[in-house]
Symmetry: C2
DNA sequence: TCAAAAGTGTTAAGTTTACACCCATGA
DNA sequence: TCATGGGTGTAAACTTAACACTTTTGA
């Protein structure tokens, strides 16, 4: 009896990470300037190959960790990219993931070693292969999910001001929002808790610092922003 | 110099299809009772392996065509499933797709030859591997997309009554809808066109038959149902 | 003549949007 | 004292939801 699987070819399976960060009111992506072939010298997403005994999700986590040093990061699968010629080197089916990280928590040394840098999302260079398409799909997905679930907090420090939070959502949606309406909505989210701490960086008066309480959110998960 | 790719393993890449149909007010899936190993005798999705020189999307289209005889079907990728042990036979990374078809247009002989049948979505048997999870994800995705884009028409005959259309959306959302509000919304969609034909199957009085005009939709794509 | 599905508008409730001024502070 | 960002409420516009009766016709 012939083996059921053996008549079909096998392929390298890759993972590529669209890594979002937020700083100074701007969304950025962590991109690599490739110092290796193929496509040496061009910009790309951080990627890698799935290994034996490693799930595709785990491969994505590993690849993210290799670049940023971070574990337990918020990640979502964007989808599989499987055109025949998407990688000119060899046939590779790749699964894209997006990650939301707090830029300040990433390991600067690792980032530098990989020749990676944060690029403002409005000024992205052309990317290799189909990586620009992956980014476009990831942005769409992230935008939709950000309007539905409180994932934006992953991009902020643990303590943040409401102005920061609003500026984050303005960056995600790409449009300005009304301050009073925004704060009204946040006020209804019991899991966005005002602390007694004050941020004195951003203004003379000082702004109240808030935190996201996931425990409370899971009890009453209502979110629409 | 060593080859960049060769240090990583390769895997079989599969595709699995969640095939939605609509009949008698009920959503159904086209499932296979496997007459081959592994998991012979159990229920599964229709699947196959990606071939050399074939994109993953094309593999999904081929697999769907092999079972239904249909081409140019509405399909969406659900995502990649990559757990290490998801297929007990051998390591397989699989990409799930959902398809929306008109049951009457599928090739009954082909369906029979594959030992496949339409199963009401409320009465699904346990499925092999992670196929139940694929189905769950596909349903969620399809529901969301159905509320945003006029994809439901793919499940109906070219001519349909408003009662059929409402009953379809009730099946998709799993909840009853108000007839007058529903018709009000449809009346605002210029691309849902009343024909001069009458359906006399469903009632003594007869119901006006409508059709979806994709040309008109693309000019003014507003949809919310 | 009646059973069965088709067809049709109005009102109340809820949600979303627009909008402008005072506050607290450090320089 | 003034420049800067922080903080606050109300009313109009719009959207959504609730609701019941008349029409047509084949059996």
């Amino acid at each position: 009896m012939t083996n059921f699987y053996s008549s079909s070819p096998t392929f390298h399976v890759g993972v590529d990470c669209i890594i979002f960060g937020f700083n100074e009111g701007e969304l950025s992506l962590l991109l690599l300037k490739r110092d290796f072939e193929p496509a040496k010298g061009e910009w790309s997403l951080m990627g890698g190959f799935v290994q034996t005994g490693e799930s595709v999700d785990d491969a994505a986590k590993r690849v993210l960790r290799e670049l940023t040093g971070l574990e337990k990061v918020y990640m979502e699968q964007v989808g599989a990219f499987g055109s025949v010629d998407r990688d000119p080197g060899e046939r590779v089916v790749s699964v894209a993931y997006y990650a939301l990280i707090n830029i300040n928590e990433s390991d600067r040394r690792l980032v530098q070693e990989h020749n990676a840098s944060w690029v403002n999302i409005g000024e992205l260079p052309p990317l290799i292969f189909d990586h620009s398409e992956m980014v476009a799909r990831a942005r769409e997905l992230m935008k939709r999910q950000a309007s539905t679930e409180p994932i934006g907090f992953n991009l902020l420090p643990k303590l943040f001001t409401l102005t920061q939070l609003q500026s984050l959502y303005e960056a995600i949606y790409g449009e300005p929002m009304d301050k009073r309406n925004f704060r009204k909505r946040v006020a209804e989210m019991d899991y966005v808790e005002k602390t007694d701490k004050i941020d004195r960086q951003s203004s003379r008066r000082g702004a109240a610092l808030y935190k996201f309480n996931d425990r409370v959110y899971r009890k009453a998960p209502k979110f629409k922003i």
